[in-house]
């Protein structure tokens, strides 16, 4: 049943550009990119119990790295993509070593501080980042010689990456390692007594989340063909965290739903309402009050109660 509805949903996603106009196709691309970003953050927040407020570091760093490698170093987009992902993972390894000295609020503050350092660098290190002007004129890749310049083509490309990301992260959370990760979230002390290396499990997860954060950063920079320090801002990190929490942390579908809501609100509300940030705040406040566990688990709960199910 679940598989059938998943397959139908995927089929709809595939044919979506055949019916929708460019505005909606681009909106959908943005949602998928934000969803990969939120899903990668969810590995830490939902499955690891590690609430990060600096996840935009990975997205922004990978985006900048790709821009720098292609425009300054003359690398091809593909080579630059690999180099950017590797560089982001190395950075995640270093950041993880610093941030994972703490958990809880300490972890949150360190991830925030580290991302603020990057944000400051992006503004100040003008020679590399072009500062507040950002870096523009960036190219999209052309896998197998297929141009991704049309909205529909880029959407399909993003969709392929999204499906692979979703699939691999779904495997990750049900894997032996992912089970251990959830164990460290729920009973860290017990896990070490059972022989699990709690710190190492968290560190590897941090790097893995950094990997998918980097992938979302590449998709993002290909999409906008432009990168600005605001992609490294606390707002960018907080939006990811909001999507995870609103959609349902520790669930696979939650970040997708949360990101869809965020992107749709941002696009619509900013067109019609001047203080759209406030509207965004109210909507998320409403969700947190009505469905404190997030939209996906919340609706599941309501739905199963309607059906008289026990779980």
């Amino acid at each position: 049943m679940k598989q059938i509805s998943g397959a139908i949903f995927l089929a709809l996603l595939c044919v979506f550009p055949l019916f929708a106009g460019d505005f909606y196709i681009n909106l959908a691309s943005q949602i998928l990119i934000a969803a990969i970003f939120a899903m990668s953050l969810n590995l830490l927040v939902g499955y690891g119990g590690l609430t990060s407020l600096g996840h935009a570091s990975f997205l922004g760093f990978a985006a900048y790295a790709s821009a720098w490698f292609t425009t300054q170093m003359g690398l091809g987009v593909g080579t630059a993509a690999v180099a950017s992902i590797v560089a982001t993972m190395v950075m995640a390894g270093l950041f993880g070593m610093i941030a994972l000295r703490a958990t809880g609020l300490g972890f949150l503050m360190i991830t925030l501080a580290l991302s603020q350092v990057l944000w400051g660098l992006a503004y100040r290190w003008v020679a590399v980042t072009n500062g507040d002007n950002g870096m523009s004129g960036l190219a999209r890749p052309a896998p197998f010689g297929i141009s991704l310049d049309s909205g529909a083509n880029y959407y399909w490309f993003t969709l392929v990456v999204f499906v692979v990301a979703y699939w691999l992260m779904a495997i990750f959370v049900s894997s032996a390692f992912g089970s251990a990760l959830r164990g460290t979230r729920d009973q860290a002390r017990r896990m070490s007594a059972l022989g699990h290396e709690v710190w190492m499990i968290r560190w590897i997860t941090f790097i893995y989340a950094g990997f998918w954060g980097a992938v979302s950063g590449l998709l993002y920079v290909y999409y906008t063909k432009y990168i600005h320090p605001s992609s490294l801002s606390i707002t960018a990190s907080a939006e990811g965290l909001l999507s995870v929490i609103a959609g349902g942390s520790g669930t696979l579908g939650g970040p997708l739903v949360g990101s869809a809501l965020l992107i749709i609100l941002k696009n619509y509300a900013s067109a019609y309402v001047e203080r759209w940030n406030m509207l965004l705040g109210f909507v998320f406040l409403f969700i947190v009050l009505v469905l404190p566990e997030g939209i996906v688990p919340g609706l599941k709960r309501i739905f199963s109660r309607r059906q008289g199910g026990q779980s």
Binding site: S175, S179, R182, D186, R190, A193, H196, V198
Partner: protein, 249 residues
């Protein structure tokens, strides 16, 4: 003493919390296969001693050896890989997960499979089979797929033991495994503990001195962090100092 290496050897162990001594000059030797009971009133420092053996707390001074190797400064997970397992006085289980998942996490902790990011846990058939077998041993076979949060307190105590037993530890520390149980449940769990094979050395805490005596061969009495009496069960029971601690005030 004998030529065999002690399963557990504690040498001049001290632990202070701030200025408060919780372990004072403790010396202890538990031989392989032994069944040792540690008794003592509330706050005597029994759990604190366990926490130092497992590595949850580092001692202020002294040494702890597990089968001859010095583990005083080792990380808790490293000690687990040397064959140390424990249960907790306050139940510490994964309450949102099934019983079989709980026990499987114990098996996973000692298996290289725990590093596999790409193979679902439920594809490790042999681990699940083993987890169910051990749950069967503690009489919870039919409840293996229930969530921990749904089962009764006495059953959770048994899951605690199953989780540790599944690891086939060389040294098993049980912290008040009978606490809070009905007389009937106590009998069940005592039988369970009595059936643990001799390859596993047992150290068990109880603060009520009568409940677990028949499980033990040797008894250590702790009081204010110090070893007051230590030796064969009957000698410890008969000792005047034991009566002083338990009846004296």
């Amino acid at each position: 003493m004998s030529a065999t290496i002690a399963a557990l050897e504690i040498i001049n162990l001290n632990k202070f919390f701030g200025g408060l001594p919780a372990t004072q000059n403790v010396n202890l030797q538990v031989m392989p296969g032994e069944r040792r009971l540690i008794i003592g009133p509330n706050g005597a420092g029994k759990t604190t001693l366990f926490n130092q053996i497992t590595g949850d707390f580092l001692p202020s001074s002294g040494q702890i050896k597990l089968f001859g190797s010095d583990i005083t400064r080792m990380k808790p997970h490293e000690r687990a890989h040397l064959g140390l397992s424990r249960t907790y006085q306050i139940i510490t289980l994964f309450s949102k997960d099934t019983l079989v998942h709980n026990v499987t996490l114990g098996l996973l902790g000692l298996s290289p499979a725990r590093w596999n990011l790409f193979k679902p846990l439920d594809h490790y058939q042999e681990m699940e089979v083993e987890a169910r077998r051990v749950l069967g041993l503690v009489g919870l076979g039919s409840m293996a797929d229930r969530l921990v949060s749904e089962i009764a307190y006495g059953q959770k105590r048994r899951v605690e033991i199953a989780m540790a037993m599944a690891q086939k530890p060389k040294l098993l520390l049980l912290d008040e495994p009978l606490a809070g149980l009905s007389a009937e449940e106590r009998t069940t769990i005592k039988e369970l503990i009595a059936a643990i094979p001799k390859e596993t050395t047992l150290v068990m805490i109880e603060h009520d001195m009568d409940t677990a005596l028949d499980l033990a061969e040797t008894v250590t009495l702790l009081h204010y962090g110090k070893v007051i009496v230590d030796g064969q069960r009957d000698a410890v029971i008969a000792d005047e100092k034991t009566r002083e601690v338990y009846l004296g005030h």
